[in-house]
Symmetry: C2
Subunit: 326 residues, 2 copies
């Protein structure tokens, strides 16, 4: 099995099904708005995780497809609302939805995606009691996302952020939905509690690594690949692990300068200076290493996967997550 | 059975359960924000409808409580997001949530309520296949709400609104969630398709009457009771049934004047003038009568209810909806 091939294959199935779902109702303008992010690309990583996990535990190929689509729609709804909350202008190289249609209509389109996600969930071809468990799983993960988002917004008012609180926040904002993907996949595949739990832990750890890599790419990535300006997090004063680490390592004067750049209007020169300060503090290296540590921990959970071929493909997903360039 | 007593009794049960749900997690600031609307009063009409309908078809007393709470949370999430979209300042006599905590955090708190609603749904004490049906019902009704909201926002750009399109819009924005309440109640009570459908039609028609009455109260209600300024819809240029009717009935010059008042900055004098114009066109009377017609149609669906005592209490709900003062 080749990871890229397997991902591509399922991505196509997911995109095709989403096309069908949205085309059915697209006469309504709301549905056009709702489809703007889902049809603009993306890795479809969450559906892939749900589907490949179900298969790894013996389930048939597309059994977890509707659930995977639910996850992808939830992911897209969070992108729509996050972009409004953060007032971001670009997503995947295109104007964000609220930039195109206004805040009010984008809030509403996000709500539509949210509702559609649960509507698709009800169509999953599993017995009713499993629908209940998937519903519990998916809704709980969204509650975590909202808690994480609130925590993230609170971080904007302070530079006194403990690393463990930061990790807790990205766990909620990113890792729980990954975990809902693999836990849901194992539930669909009739796994026992132990298997569900370990595959959930696998995804949570990978999710943390994923988010650290995301922040890393914003700093050192290729603009064409990541679809936004490099250094945009610094420009917006975002508290990333690299910032938190640098602030804890730098001597007072350099620390104050970094805070100044993050807090005030900054230009390309300032952003470069901030990067140098983070490099001085070895914060970028630290961050990269921490992502690797979480990735290794994630892999160690995979001993629960019976089929070595699937175990190996899931290990590759982890490597992909921390080495991806977009 | 006395309607007010029955409503009060279930309202207390609903509020107590919500208090338990929110108190459990309230250490997190997100949950405090989420609880701001649910704890600020409201009639708890949707849970009441779900619960009384289930009982009317022989179900035990609190069987539909969790589902009722799901409905109430959905209702509250729509209030939070609608208030942001409309940039309203007051709700139930208090500052709206986004006025208190800012748009970004209010969007997120609304999302939290949305997620919590589905989380509570998963706890409903019915068999799994019913969870699936309730999930389908609730998520579909929210999709309708979002469509209706989009249509409502589009009406803001025009005065050429056909009455049937307006009715369609309020049906989506208001009536479908009422219908999800009674349909869900009948599903929980093991009703057959015919019963589910007719109780759904009952609630849809009542929901339309409810919304017409809501717009009516904004014009002629008591400020202390409705918790906002009388005439605020005119102030904001909102297209209500009364406006649409007046525009279709008034002679050209008066029509232009009404449009002018609605479109431009207006003071108390202008608002009074707009009301007089609507009275001239018999638009207020027309609106009141249409609400009554829908109310009567709603009642006629109730012949499906076997127990005369419950039939009569459900008729009283309809009367309450079109005669209420807040």
């Amino acid at each position: 099995m080749d990871l890229i091939e397997e991902m591509e294959e399922r991505k196509e199935v997911v995109e095709q099904r989403m096309e069908e779902i949205f085309r059915k109702e697209r006469a309504h303008p709301l549905w056009e708005y709702m489809f703007y992010y889902p049809e603009s690309g993306g890795k479809k990583l969450r559906p892939f995780l749900a589907m490949i996990t179900a298969e790894a535990f013996g389930e048939s190929k597309n059994k977890a497809l509707p659930y995977g689509i639910s996850l992808e729609l939830v992911h897209n709804f969070t992108l729509v609302h996050d972009d409004i909350m953060d007032q971001d202008d670009l997503r995947r190289g295109k104007p964000t939805l609220h930039q195109k249609i206004g805040d009010a209509e984008a809030i509403n389109a996000g709500d539509g995606l949210f509702a559609l996600s649960f509507n698709i969930l009800s169509q999953t071809d599993v017995e009713g009691e499993k629908i209940r468990r998937l519903l519990e799983e998916l809704s709980s993960s969204i509650l975590k996302i909202a808690e994480g988002q609130e925590e993230d917004m609170r971080f904007e008012d302070t530079f006194e952020i403990r690393e463990e609180d930061f990790i807790q926040m990205i766990k909620k904002k990113t890792a729980y939905l990954f975990s809902a993907a693999t836990r849901g996949g194992t539930m669909i595949a009739d796994c026992d509690d132990k298997e569900i739990e370990r595959m959930g832990n696998f995804a949570k750890k990978m999710g943390i690594a994923f988010q650290i890599q995301d922040d890393y790419l914003d700093l050192v990535g290729d603009e064409d690949k990541i679809g936004k300006d490099v250094g945009s997090d610094i420009k917006e004063g975002k508290r990333t692990l690299m910032v938190i680490k640098a602030l804890s390592e730098l001597p007072e004067r350099k620390k104050d300068r970094l805070i100044e750049i993050l807090e005030e209007d900054n230009d390309q020169e300032d952003i470069k200076e901030a990067m140098d300060l983070m490099r001085d503090a070895r914060a970028i290296e630290y961050s990269k290493n921490l992502a690797k540590t979480y990735a290794e921990e994630a892999k160690s959970e995979l001993e629960i996967v019976p089929d070595p071929e699937y175990r190996s493909i899931l290990e590759e997903v982890v490597d992909f997550v921390i080495s991806r360039e977009k």
